[in-house]
Symmetry: C2
Subunit: 445 residues, 2 copies
């Protein structure tokens, strides 16, 4: 037995635990190669020199061992992720992801899925049965919402005030929708009257808006839109990827029909699961579709059945076991802190950030104060500042990630995210120190 095999076996036995050794009576040191060498070929394969399960009609080849991929144990540098996301996770959440695996239909796993649904009801502020975590990152949630709520040929009005509206328009087009794009210049939001006119004119199946547009740093008002959409037979779909848990939302009271989000922003879980909410009206739409959802992986008729939406539990795909442990733990932290405290914390950090930035001569990219998003801040540096040099200095000197602009803000701003575990006064102070140091080094302070 090679050293590597022995190491692996040791790792395995360590993971599988003491119960194994005592229950099975097999000594930890027992060599499986002995068993293999016995050549008891019950399975009917000829005991070849290779003794792998290559079929007798298949041609074997010398294994190419010239490049095998990663070597050594993974080693990750610690960084403060204060761009637009992912944000850092609490240690408790990361450790949850190191818990042993469960089967995707084991009762303790189903209990965790129930807890996730209940925790999501709380952050969405809904009593709807229809919450779950899509098995993918925020974009999977986005695609799930569009794929399930829109049929080919139907009209979608997409509020496009940054990169997310663009992406939703692209997705809706791929799913065969008739896309009507409402454009808004970077740094501004849509007024109720503009949206009212669009909805009444096009009577769309879906109106899409992004609550927290991280590419421009604006927060879209959702006031009155639920009633407007209901009256016009439209479903109101809202992107909350970088706002959920950081900014108020009341899914039921505001009559929103569908919300998706990402786990890796204000909820502080690692990326990989996308919270999703559907209203009763959205579910009715799903159930009365004339065509199949154009995705199997994201078909909420099937995924919902795995999550117990329809009072049973069917296998659909193997759930994201470790990732869901992390999301469950993140939602437990939300429950313990409480939503109002979280919203206040994000707002307080936003104010702390701008107190500091304004003292350094930085200006908000978003002109109208009430349009400014608390969680992702777009910042215009003092004239003549080399933004890329400042960003590089923050990483090199402070291990702090600050981000440049994206899409319509590319080259115009820096972006600082204050989300979840990073919306803390100490972290805000650190990122301010990093900006200050960058400005000083460029003679701007």
């Amino acid at each position: 037995m090679s050293i590597v095999n022995r190491l692996n076996q040791k790792a395995s036995l360590s993971a599988l635990g003491r119960v194994l050794a005592s229950a099975s009576g097999v000594l930890p040191g027992a060599s499986f190669t002995k068993t293999a060498a016995a050549g008891q070929s019950f399975a009917g394969y000829s005991t070849s020199t290779s003794n792998t399960s290559i079929r007798p009609d298949e041609t074997s080849h010398p294994i190419d061992n010239s490049s095998k991929g990663p070597t050594g144990v993974i080693d990750i540098p610690k960084r403060y992720l204060m761009g637009p996301g992912p944000a850092n996770s609490y240690e408790r959440i990361l450790l949850a992801q190191a818990q042993p695996l469960l089967g995707h239909l084991h009762p303790p796993m189903l209990k965790i899925m129930d807890e996730i649904q209940e925790g999501l009801r709380y952050v969405f502020q809904t009593k709807s049965k229809y919450t779950l975590a899509v098995s993918g990152t925020g974009h999977a949630g986005m695609e799930a919402a569009i794929a399930n709520l829109v049929e080919p040929g139907e009209t979608v009005v997409v509020g496009n005030k940054g990169i997310w509206g663009e992406r939703v328009a692209d997705m809706a087009d791929r799913f065969g929708a008739n896309v009507v794009e409402l454009k808004k210049e970077a740094g501004k939001t849509f007024s109720y009257d503009e949206l009212k006119e669009a909805v009444e004119t096009h009577k769309p199946a879906v109106l899409f808006l992004c609550q927290g547009e991280s590419s421009t740093g604006v927060q879209q008002s959702l006031a009155g839109l639920g009633d407007l959409c209901e009256k016009n037979g439209t479903l109101l779909l809202v992107d909350t990827v970088c706002s959920l848990g950081g900014v108020p939302i009341f899914a039921d009271d505001w009559k929103i029909d569908a919300i998706y989000s990402g786990a890796q922003k204000c909820l502080s879980a690692p990326p990989g699961s996308a919270p999703l909410f559907l209203s009763e009206r959205a579910l009715q739409k799903l159930k009365s579709r004339k065509t199949k959802v154009r995705s199997y992986y994201l078909d909420m008729n099937l995924v919902g059945d795995y999550w117990g939406w329809y009072n049973s539990r069917s296998y659909h795909h193997t759930g994201m076991v470790s990732t869901w442990y992390g999301l469950r733990e993140a939602l437990a932290i939300v429950a313990e802190e409480g939503l109002e405290a979280m919203w206040k914390r994000h707002m307080a950090c936003h104010e702390q950030l701008w107190e500091g930035l304004s003292a350094m001569g930085c200006k908000p990219f978003v002109q109208d104060p009430k349009d400014r998003l608390a969680t992702v801040n777009t910042i215009v540096l003092p004239e003549g500042t080399d933004a890329m040099a400042l960003i590089k200095n923050a990483m090199d000197t402070f291990n702090v990630e600050i981000s440049g602009g994206l899409g319509p803000t590319f080259g115009k701003v820096i972006r600082i995210g204050l989300m979840g575990a990073n919306a803390q006064p100490a972290t805000v102070a650190l990122v301010l120190d990093a900006v200050k140091d960058g400005l000083k080094k460029q003679g701007k302070l």
Copy 2:
């Protein structure tokens, strides 16, 4: 500051580390509520009693705190996952998932993605540039393969000899393909001649086969199919979800065009990433499509660009940071053990299992010995055995998961998986003990 907030802040500070406190000069105990109370409302919001970032035109509501979701710290029972998957992970892989997060475009993250691609080249045995991990579970890999390689109206010949062929047929139908299903009774595989006739008759764009059909426990021969497909202008797509790393495959030598897999089987990583391989010929097909891929999340023109397939790196979606740490570590373990050793280990465990099972009067469901899959075994119990009672006893007494049948084998077999970290002699001995105990308790031994 409430106890909960203080706990969270403590957790956060612990996670963010000592550097933070020393670099920023902020005391760990400093209260952010004090900052908030100062009411320096730079951002322009009125300092309301709530002081959240609700917009002035939006209506606030009392937060519904009646049910907040999960409480307490997550606690997972340890189990031996010896069904058809997920299998247990090595502890080293689980711990990798607890490493601090990186941004999805940070150079150390891109290096991990490069390592994953290189490690996948090794397990696929290919020199193709086009390997990556799809951001989802095995089904996402399946959907990605179909969505990218098939255009609406094109023909797909689906080898359906269990549940996976059925699912691929369903997916291909959703993507607008003309699906030709070849059916085969449960427990048997397709002969080369049957496949040759189908390919020559239908000249399909894609021929789909599942190498390791976990619902029936068979291993499909891939001999000669690469040449056959090439000659007929067909792409050969192979599902290796429960076979990759456990059973020989030579992507280049066998002229396979596309392979997808799952991380949670023989590779021992947790579920959440789906290894994918495309040949040069498959990539040409992707690049010469007349229609857009009917998915944004899975469009390999875009995802491939995030992974560096086209010599640049573009943001597409936020990658599965922690999950990829785990996959990287799993591939490092593969590289250290070596593929041939892994294949032998799986075969040796398969033989050890059947030696034990046959001594207890259990019989293989798969009649032809060379069709038997080493990694997932379908087992006919002695007549009159209550399979569900045996499965329940294994879990209750040994913490061992054994699975029932699925799809065409439902109610007919039990299934035992010997994959990755669980393909060890001690683990096989344990599952044999569990079967023996179950049979004894039912008077069958």
